[in-house]
């Protein structure tokens, strides 16, 4: 093996390792906690949901305020399958989605219309 070959091989392996670490391991961030009795939390929609994990207290109503800061059609709909919610999020606007206090304990996913962008609600 020449130096070039060794260089390409080791760089390639390192790149693969880094990509898998970055997208699968490093992405696990702590869930944000919705505050107040009203449990309101703002989620920025811009190529993803930020924060993407939201902790809610069981038995209390909550409001998710989606602030959509992009025009990409990927994020123009919000789907919460467990609640049968499909909402249009107008670009450049805030859209409030009210969650009922009856939302069951456990994890509930929310995604974009085609399921490419995801977030989760953790009710506990």
């Amino acid at each position: 093996m020449t130096f070039d070959q060794i260089f390409v091989l080791s760089t390639g392996l390192a790149a693969i390792a880094w990509i898998n670490w970055y997208f699968f391991a490093a992405g696990r961030r702590k869930a944000a906690v919705a505050a107040g009795t009203g449990q309101a939390i703002e989620i920025v929609v811009d190529g993803g949901y930020d924060p993407s994990s939201i902790r809610l207290a069981h038995g209390r109503p909550a409001s998710l305020v989606f602030d959509r800061r992009e025009t990409s059609s990927c994020s123009d709909e919000l789907v919460i399958p467990d609640l049968g919610v499909r909402r249009f999020l107008p670009a450049g606007k805030r859209t409030t989605v009210e969650l009922p206090p009856t939302l069951a304990r456990g994890e509930h996913e929310f995604t974009c219309g085609m399921g490419m962008m995801r977030g989760r609600l953790i009710v506990e």
Partner: protein, 780 residues
């Protein structure tokens, strides 16, 4: 946004402006908390909202807003939540503008790509172009190279530096204008530790561009290192152009998946002709009030739900129920907003407006259905979550393998870029939701409202259908079916005497007798001295004679001779009909038979369900003889009779325990527990009263054919979903290795990045198009 938190308390969230710090937040919150009638208040500085739980009897939303304003901060009453229809229209407008934008970018970029291809040809003859190995470019060279050299010889004389410089400028233009969003979106996703289609396009075209720029600016340095200074500009422009074309086609097709909802929304007229203080005036529908009298002329659309108070008409309800024959409507009947009055004219009293109208509830239900997720999607979800990073890893591995085995950077780069470009996560993401959207829309057009992906999936797996008898297989309203007068008595006389007495009774059978008399235009008289004997019959004096109407045993006990009708009674009972005897002054006048008539469509619908391979069971609280008679009539062998309402649930459970996937078809009110227990609850609507919320599937029309349609549509949809998923998986599983070059050692087949981008664009478009085929699926 007001919602009921408990019976007495309401919750209001409204925007508060001007807060800059935690102290401001605390001040607003304390002020609200101290306001009488407020039970709880929380103010969020981040979102600029106050959420208040309050007692509506003590304080109004407007007062709460004023309270906040008094503290020096701004506050507004929240806007009414957009109705489903408005939301859909806003979404449509956004989709339309996206489609137009993509189309323009795609066309311009493809023109630029053609130009770039021409400029690249002289470079290829100069042997300084990696794409010369690209099968697509080779083809273009063979057929276009000669004529081009003849037509524009100066192009071949141009210095290499000039050509690559122009190509670099064109590529920069394309990347900055039409392809920019791939990069910005990829970057945004990257920051969230996620990756999508944009990531693949951006990394693929980005790598090719960087390499080409290096070859343009430092060809000597690359040559000195034994690397050929190839440029791939035309491939980059082509890829962007083709992907944009695919995106534009996909956007257009996606728009079509919601065309059914758009169609329903467009049914709602904007104005209504209202009659106020004797004057007809045309006003916006939004300005109508409950109880307004609305005039509907021939050919007009009924603007709101209402009850006809004057006139009559023939109303075409096909757009909501799928029923093609116009329905005759007279005073007392309900008309549904959005339907068309084909003939006659009438006035209605508005009963349900805005979000409560039938049309609005159907639209809301459909949007919710489309928001639901089918369980079959879980697999696609799991794969798409890891898809892009895995594909990037494969691309890197392909580059390394090619570099080590072929010893050249050019083909290695082409293979890596092809892998990135051909991979299509979109096809997987679109496979299920587009089919669910089209299917629920198609269902609505057929008068079958399906609650969502899960309901579709279960409907596709059914093997047993349990039918409630009363109101589902039958009309649910008893009617007189036979008249057997004694010798010398006319039908009319028999009906007159029976109905005049029965008029005083509230028994359902009595109502059937009265309706039969009215139907023949017989004028009834009041019976004097009316007496009802529960479970036996009624008696009273009609025109001075003592008339008794009731069971045979009751009349026989009163000394009436009834034996002459014994054979008739036996026959009627075998047909599932209830005999009613009529006597006047102790002499028998004849016999009436009352039964719940079977709906005209039931027999053929049940035959259709059986042809679909379903076991059909009839379930009823009626006596065994009646139930079996109905079963024979409609072609059902398995009859479960004399069940109590709880017994229906038990019967469904029993079938489920035996391993069957059971649908229960019933009226949504009495059968609600059994509908809930069944794997699929199919609620049968009662004519104009559409019970939109009952069941997993609601049949807008009281017609069992709808149940068969629901099953057929669901099976078709599941087939489409499986095709889509298979195609999306197979495409990637086959395409990615070919792009990586696994076929090269054996067959010499190598995919060009440009062909890869065309395949990728086609793959997502074909999935959406396959879903759209459901719109035309043959379902009678």
């Amino acid at each position: 946004m007001t919602e009921t938190a408990t019976a007495e308390h309401e919750r209001l969230a409204f925007p508060v402006t001007g807060m800059t710090c935690a102290a401001c937040q605390g001040r607003v919150q304390r002020t609200l908390e101290k306001t009488p009638g407020v039970l709880d208040a929380s103010v969020n500085l981040m979102t600029g909202t106050a959420t208040v739980t309050y007692d509506p009897a003590a304080v109004t939303p407007a007062a709460l807003v004023d309270t906040v304003r008094d503290t020096g901060y701004g506050a507004e009453l929240p806007a009414e939540e957009a109705s489903a229809a408005e939301e859909q229209l806003a979404h449509d407008a956004a989709q339309e503008s996206e489609y137009r934008g993509l189309r323009t970018k795609a066309v311009v970029t493809l023109v630029a790509a053609a130009l770039a291809m021409v400029l690249s040809m002289p470079l290829m003859t100069a042997q300084h172009h990696g794409a010369a190995a690209d099968p697509l470019m080779q083809l273009a060279m063979r057929y276009l190279g000669g004529p081009l050299a003849d037509a524009a010889p100066w192009l071949y004389g141009a210095p290499r530096g000039l050509l690559t410089g122009v190509l670099l400028a064109m590529t920069a233009g394309v990347l900055l204008w039409s392809g920019r969003h791939f990069f910005t979106r990829a970057w945004k996703a990257f920051r969230h530790h996620s990756a999508d289609m944009n990531t693949l396009i951006a990394v693929g075209t980005g790598a090719a561009t960087l390499y080409s720029v290096g070859a343009t600016l430092f060809p000597g340095w690359l040559l000195a290192r034994g690397v050929s200074p190839d440029v791939y500009y035309e491939a980059v422009i082509f890829i962007i152009g083709l992907v944009l074309t695919g995106n534009a086609l996909e956007a257009r097709a996606k728009r079509q998946t919601s065309s059914a909802i758009r169609g329903l929304i467009s049914l709602q007229p904007d104005t209504a002709r209202v009659l106020r203080e004797g004057i007809e005036a045309e006003i916006p529908v939004s300005a109508l009030a409950h109880g307004d009298i609305v005039v509907v002329r021939p050919g007009e659309r009924v603007p709101v739900d209402g009850t006809i108070v004057h006139g009559s008409g023939a109303v075409d309800e096909s757009m909501l129920t799928g029923e093609s024959v116009p329905v005759a409507k007279a005073v007392g009947h309900r008309a549904i907003g959005g339907t068309v009055n084909r003939a006659g004219s009438f006035r209605i009293r508005a009963t349900a407006l805005g979000a409560e109208s039938t049309l609005a509830r159907i639209v809301t239900l459909m949007r919710e259905a489309q928001g639901s997720r089918a369980p079959i999607q879980h697999l696609a979800d799991r794969i798409s979550a890891v898809f892009v990073p895995v594909v990037i890893s494969i691309a890197i591995a392909a580059f390394v393998a090619w570099y080590l085995l072929a010893g050249a950077a050019g083909p290695a780069l082409a293979a890596a870029v092809s892998v990135l470009i051909i991979a299509c996560p979109c096809a997987m993401g679109l496979a299920v939701p587009t089919a669910v959207m089209v299917a629920t829309g198609r269902g609505a057009a057929l008068g079958v409202l399906i609650k969502g992906g899960e309901a579709l999936e279960r409907a596709g797996r059914l093997d047993t259908v349990v039918l409630d008898k009363t109101g589902t297989v039958t009309e649910g309203r008893p009617a007189v079916t036979d008249l057997l007068p004694a010798p010398g008595v006319s039908d009319e006389a028999l009906l007159f005497e029976a109905a005049s007495v029965e008029r005083g009774s509230e028994h359902p059978l009595a109502d059937a007798v009265v309706q039969a008399a009215r139907g023949r235009g017989i004028a009834l008289e009041d019976a004097a001295g009316f007496v009802a004997v529960p479970g036996r019959g009624v008696r009273g004096r009609v025109r001075g004679a003592d008339v008794a109407v009731g069971s045979r045993s009751w009349l026989r006990d009163a000394g009436v001779e009834t034996d002459g009708f014994a054979p008739d009674e036996a026959r009627l009972a075998a047909e599932g009909k209830t005999p009613v005897y009529v006597a006047r002054d102790g002499a028998l006048r004849g016999l009436l038979a009352v039964a719940d008539p079977i709906r005209a469509s039931s027999r053929s619908a049940i035959a259709r369900l059986r042809r679909l391979g379903l076991d059909v069971v009839l379930l009823t609280g009626d006596a065994r003889a009646t139930a079996e008679a109905v079963g024979r009539e409609v072609g059902i062998e398995r009859v479960v009779a004399e069940t109590l309402p709880e017994g229906k649930v038990a019967e469904v459970k029993r079938l489920q325990a035996a391993g069957h996937v059971v649908a229960m078809v019933g009226d949504g009110v009495n059968d609600a527990p059994a509908l809930a227990q069944a794997d699929l609850g199919i609620a049968v609507g009662g004519g104009s009263d559409i019970a939109v919320d009952a069941g997993d599937v609601t049949l807008v029309r009281p017609d069992l054919q709808g149940a068969a349609r629901a099953v057929e549509l669901s099976r078709r949809t599941m087939r489409t979903i499986r095709q889509n998923l298979f195609w999306a998986f197979a495409y990637n599983v086959v395409g990615i290795p070919i792009a990586a070059g696994v076929l090269y050692p054996a067959f010499g087949v190598l995919l060009s990045p440009v062909l890869a981008s065309a395949a990728m664009a086609l793959s997502s478009v074909s999935v959406v198009s396959n879903s759209l085929r459901l719109r035309r699926a043959r379902i009678a």
